[in-house]
């Protein structure tokens, strides 16, 4: 092969005469010094080009191209075009049933709150605020010198623990607390996801 215009450097890069654009990838793997076995279709085309037989060369090249697999569009290609053209609304990021679940959780959270609050109030009433405050103040004043004043806080706490355990172990309260926890988690995640900006879904806006 005779090269007239191209000056090949040792690293295989062409001269500026072939206008490489930015980011062009030069694939040196293909530039071997040994000849591969020539495909018969390629052979036919090259022979026709050698002979300057345009009709034969075009026929042979068409055969070669027909053996070259083409990319297939994705199955939702048409749908994405319709959305880009405004013929279909953008699909909701989260389907209707997920919103229904969040709504039910909100309802359960409301019910759970209404049910649990009276129990919480009952628990609080076991230890009146004035008694608790008094014990803390007394303890704070005589903290260093009167060790037994510390026991006042301990006794108040002990008084709270037993009834709390009793209430907390009742099945209804346990279930409601679990439902409340689950509902809270769902609500938090649901609101977080609904209010956050949609992720890129590959829809093209024509420019």
């Amino acid at each position: 092969m005779t090269v007239h215009d191209d000056k090949r450097h040792d690293d295989g890069q062409r001269s500026e005469s072939l206008r490489l654009g930015e980011g062009a990838q030069w694939d040196n793997r293909l530039r071997t010094s040994h000849c591969r076995r020539v495909d018969s279709r390629l052979e036919r085309w090259l022979a026709a080009e050698d002979a300057d037989d345009t009709a034969e060369a075009e026929g042979a090249l068409a055969v070669l191209f027909s053996a070259w697999p083409n990319p297939l569009p994705r199955t939702d290609f048409a749908e994405r075009v319709l959305i880009g053209a405004g013929l279909r609304p953008l699909p909701a990021v989260y389907p209707w049933w997920s919103r229904a679940v969040i709504a039910v959780c909100l309802l359960l959270a409301g019910l759970a709150t209404a049910y649990v609050l009276p129990l919480v109030f009952n628990l609080v009433q076991l230890v009146a605020p004035s008694q608790l405050a008094g014990g803390v103040v007394q303890t704070f004043v005589g903290l260093l010198s009167r060790f037994d004043e510390l026991l006042a806080i301990w006794r108040i706490g002990a008084r709270m623990v037993a009834p709390s355990v009793l209430i907390a172990t009742s099945p209804q309260v346990v279930l409601m607390l679990l439902a409340l926890t689950a509902s809270s988690v769902f609500i938090f995640r649901g609101l977080n996801l609904l209010l956050s900006p949609p992720r890129s879904s590959g829809y093209v806006q024509a420019h």
Binding site: T2, L46, P73
Partner: protein, 228 residues
């Protein structure tokens, strides 16, 4: 264009023609436009993919083409072939992209004829064993790389002529060139592609000679070594 009925669809309505789909789309039928897209998505995507060398980019550009086509559908001359009009939009869109990217050559794209459902699976020839199929796959990769090294206008005429099987006048209409220019560019593009493949080792050494510059004669097809 006559109605087409596909095999196995005798009991269903015949396949609408391109003109019917255009009329339906202009009348506001989403289904008509969807059928239109499905009918031409593969050829449009194929042409763009060969031009830009990147499948996912080609999909984005192809979507862009159809969206623009929808918006300009009322200006489409129904006397023309719809495919040519779509290829024209694809031509403009792709060249705009290449100009913006300032790319004359495009990177090698991965092609596979098996084990990947995003590519066509073509029937293999009876005489092809596993070794020959591997060599063929390598040749196709080489073709892809060689095509990517050609200037965009050479790439385009080769793809339109040999991949899509378009006539010279159709290519002239799509590219906006004179028919004589299309023939010259095709000639040069073929020679250049052959040279690229030979230099990549897909032809025997010494088999392909670099073309010698010839003097231009009025009215004849001439060849040169460089780009016009």
């Amino acid at each position: 264009m006559s109605r087409r009925t596909e095999p196995g669809q005798r009991s269903r309505r015949p396949t609408p023609t391109d003109d019917e789909l255009v009329v339906g789309s202009l009348g506001g039928s989403t289904e008509a436009f969807r059928l239109l897209v499905e009918r031409f998505q593969r050829p449009v995507l194929s042409v763009i993919a060969r031009m830009v060398g990147d499948r996912s980019l080609a999909e984005d550009l192809a979507q862009d083409v159809f969206i623009k086509a929808y918006r300009k559908l009322d200006s489409f001359d129904r006397q023309r072939k719809l495919s040519s009009w779509l290829f024209k939009i694809a031509h403009n869109t792709t060249l705009d992209h290449l100009r913006r990217s300032q790319l004359d050559t495009v990177p090698l794209e991965a092609t596979s004829s098996h084990g990947d459902d995003s590519w066509e699976v073509l029937p293999t020839r009876d005489e092809d064993g596993p070794e020959r199929r591997a060599e063929h796959a390598q040749l196709m990769s080489g073709m892809s790389a060689a095509l990517g090294r050609l200037p965009p206008h050479y790439r385009e005429v080769l793809v339109l002529r040999f991949q899509q099987g378009l006539a010279y006048h159709e290519i002239a209409e799509i590219t906006g060139l004179a028919m004589g220019t299309v023939k010259v560019q095709l000639h040069r593009a073929r020679k250049r592609l052959a040279k690229e493949l030979a230099e990549a080792g897909f032809a025997p050494p010494g088999r392909w000679q670099e073309e010698k510059p010839r003097k231009r004669h009025k009215g004849s097809v001439t060849t040169g070594t460089g780009d016009p």
